[in-house]
């Protein structure tokens, strides 16, 4: 029990904290005096100046050989540009393809086993980007997703990489796929020196999407069926329902000649949860859903496992389960089998134009008698992709 009347002032005990602080300040000022570090020497290879999807002007080595993908699902685009081996130039990537689209991962891995060796940068949405690892891999370019722009700025990732002389480019087929898919592919084509492939894809894309626009682009409101587009149905089995606003799949519905139910409620955001009662009250003409093979990552998922390994049987069983959720049996769309499920990854893939075609055919069968989305999908694989199609990427309830 120390005595409070006799203060031990002036003893070492009172002095040491200040010494400690002194040391602190000394260290700090020392660090302060460390002069700015000059950037690493720029490569003397031929470069190309590009504007990326964040509107930044970036100088990148022409024909980059060592790429790091800020999202695993950027592979969908790389497969188009580097058909012989999409992984050839990838030295690092994030794990979202493996987690969210295991079918595609297995399909590509079977054909390109060296993909296993690519360095893993973890979850793109929750973890920081290891700049050091990028340096260790001696990358030519880091390709990030536009959705991560803000985060990359805030955590200083872009600045640090630029200081190291490693350019960062942003691409996008999620924030605004209708507008950004082709520019993103052309941008990748330019830095990979694969412009011919990029332009060929752009041409195919345009032809297929115009098929839809020319037939339903100017439809009057009264000729557009009301569509409820459920997002990731069954991803969380106890939650019904998430939907999109006028973005992404919500926009696909509108481009396909429908009225997207969620656009009225989520004008300023990309979407959200809605009360199933309101959906029942509005009784949409069509009930559409997205699904993917999430069951490996989330065992409780009851989603339709759309993808390269989906079977008709599994998908129909899952559609039965999903439409049997409380209240949905009351819907006219369910009773009349106006129900369709699509591969969820279309929402983050340059192949989304095929989804627009499939939805258009579902909503307006008469106008699209001569259009076969499945043939489009098969042609996409035959002409542009290293793998053959299999499984199911959309299905209607039987």
């Amino acid at each position: 029990m120390p005595s409070f009347r006799r203060r031990e002032n002036g003893s070492a005990t009172a002095r040491f904290p200040f010494l400690f602080l002194l040391a602190f300040f000394a260290t700090a000022s020392l660090l302060w005096s460390v002069s700015a570090i000059s950037p690493a020497h720029a490569q003397t290879a031929e470069t190309v100046e590009v504007t990326d999807l964040a509107g930044r002007t970036v100088r990148v080595k022409k024909g980059v050989q060592r790429m790091i993908l800020g999202e695993g699902r950027q592979l969908y685009g790389l497969a188009v540009l580097e058909r012989d081996n999409p992984f050839k130039r990838v030295v690092g990537w994030r794990d979202d393809l493996k987690v969210n689209d295991p079918d595609a991962w297995r399909k590509y891995r079977a054909k390109f086993p060296e993909a296993e060796k690519i360095a893993d940068f973890g979850n793109p949405y929750t973890s920081d980007f290891s700049v050091e690892k990028v340096l260790a891999l001696d990358a030519d370019v880091v390709v990030l997703d536009l959705g991560n722009y803000f985060k990359a700025q805030e955590s200083g990732t872009i600045a640090k990489l630029e200081k190291a002389g490693i350019p960062v480019v942003f691409i996008d087929w999620r924030e605004d796929p209708s507008q950004n898919t082709v520019p993103s592919l052309i941008l990748l084509g330019r830095i990979m020196d694969r412009e011919k492939e990029a332009l060929a894809f752009a041409d195919f894309y345009l032809r297929q999407i115009r098929l839809v626009y020319t037939r339903v682009g100017n439809l009057k409101e009264k000729d557009r069926p009301l569509v409820f587009m459920e997002r990731a149905a069954g991803y969380n089995p106890n939650n019904c329902c998430s939907t999109w606003g006028a973005t992404n799949f919500g926009k696909f519905v509108e481009e396909a000649g429908g009225r997207n139910w969620g656009s009225r409620f989520f004008s300023s955001t990309s979407g959200g949860d809605v009360n199933v009662e309101k959906v029942i009250a509005d009784d949409p003409d069509f009930y559409l859903m997205t699904g993917a093979n999430w069951s490996e990552a989330i065992p409780s998922s009851t989603a339709a496992p759309m993808g390269y390994e989906a079977t008709d049987e599994k998908v129909q069983a899952s559609l039965k389960t999903l439409t049997a959720r409380p209240g949905l049996s009351l819907l006219r769309a369910v009773r009349e089998k106006h129900v369709m499920v699509l591969y969820h990854q279309f929402y983050n893939s340059p192949y989304s134009f095929v989804a627009v075609q499939a939805v258009a055919k579902m909503l307006h069968p008469d106008r699209f008698k001569d259009v076969d989305p499945q043939a489009t999908w098969t042609e996409l694989h035959a002409k542009f992709l290293p793998v053959e199609t299999s499984g199911l990427f959309w299905a209607t309830m039987k």
Partner: protein
């Protein structure tokens, strides 16, 4: 002086020496943790290279300099500083509130900062006229400070007892969490990811400017609190006894709370809401060194700094190339540790 008094004085001196020794040990451990943090990483730099680059930057090659000075050093320093700030804030809060569960995280300061950051992310609402990504930091800071002011104001209004402060803090925490849920509900997918990412905490936002600000804040708060060390120790005996020794308890509480606000607001604004560090660090320090605030406060800062430094190392060492969110790591380390602490206290019947 009687012989009894002499023995008491000798005993006190011995105890002081032992505490000094323990504190020195803490500093050595902190240095070791800091050096480990500097040495670990997927990039091309070993411990030897890092040290030689630190000693003579001009001799190192450009890439090594970049790894050491731009990537590792800011983060390693930030981990130590923010750890120390959170530990000091938590320790001081536990002392003035006489509550072992008090820290900036449990009393809503971090949650308030998260609300500020989320408002900037989701709606672009900025309270101070700054642009770009700095807006998030300033917003978080202003909100954290506002939470502290609310804590301050409401307690002043209702009488400055430890109980009111804790209750107000808990009310703040729930209010901020509700607001946070509302903002998250109104934000789109990308914004939601950013909010979640921000809340999880990240040391990657470190920069030498931020480190400088942290040093200044610690430089103000630590000596100030140490100068009040005796009074704070007396406060541990209860308000009445402290009053009877001539300490103005209310004033002391508000003064320390102001310092805590500064530390907490700056640290959460810079790195996000990192939980458990400010809670567990002081408990370890208390077990090691006791309630003498002159030692307890700096040792709390040191132990929390060690925890965050270790967490920083772990976050990048588990899987090379992946940096796990620091807030997740501290909670994962913190929870089992905390439980075992509680059990050990129970078993001693204290």
């Amino acid at each position: 002086m009687t012989s009894i008094a002499l023995t008491a004085v000798a005993g006190y001196r011995r105890a002081t020496r032992r505490r000094l020794g323990l504190f020195g040990l803490g500093l050595v451990a902190l240095l070791a943790a800091f050096v480990t943090d500097l040495a670990v990483g997927p990039g091309p730099a070993t411990l030897g290279q890092v040290i030689s680059a630190l000693i003579d930057p001009s001799a190192a090659d450009a890439r090594l300099r970049l790894v050491v000075f731009d990537l590792r050093l800011p983060i390693a320093l930030m981990a130590v500083l923010v750890g120390a700030m959170l530990g000091l804030a938590g320790a001081a809060m536990q002392t003035i509130l006489n509550n072992p569960l008090a820290d900036p995280f449990t009393l809503g300061v971090s949650a308030a900062a998260s609300v500020g950051a989320s408002l900037a992310i989701a709606f672009g609402w900025v309270l101070l006229p700054v642009g770009g990504t700095i807006a998030i930091t300033t917003n978080a800071f202003v909100f954290a400070l506002m939470a502290c002011l609310a804590l301050f104001g409401l307690t002043k209004l209702r009488g400055v007892s430890a109980e009111t402060m804790v209750l107000v803090g808990i009310a703040l925490l729930f209010t901020c969490n509700a607001l946070l849920a509302l903002i998250q509900y109104r934000s789109n997918e990308t914004q939601l990811q950013q909010i979640v990412f921000w809340i999880m905490g990240s040391l990657s936002r470190a920069s030498f400017e931020k480190i400088g600000i942290c040093v200044v804040a610690l430089g103000i708060a630590l000596p100030w609190m140490l100068a009040r060390g005796w009074a704070l120790t007396a406060l541990r005996l209860g308000d009445e006894r402290a009053e009877s020794m001539g300490i103005k308890v209310d004033r002391l509480r508000l003064e320390i709370l102001a310092l805590v606000s500064l530390l907490a607001a700056i640290s959460v604004a810079f790195v996000g809401a990192i939980g458990f560090v400010g809670l567990v660090g002081p408990h370890i320090a208390r077990l090691a060194i006791g309630e003498d605030q002159r030692f307890f406060l700096p040792l709390s800062a040191a132990t929390s700094a060690i925890i965050l430094s270790l967490a920083s190392t772990l976050s990048k060492a588990v899987t090379p190339g992946i940096i796990y969110p620091i807030g997740m790591i501290t909670s994962l380390i913190g929870v089992p540790f905390f439980i075992s602490l509680i059990l050990s206290i129970r078993s001693r019947g204290a």
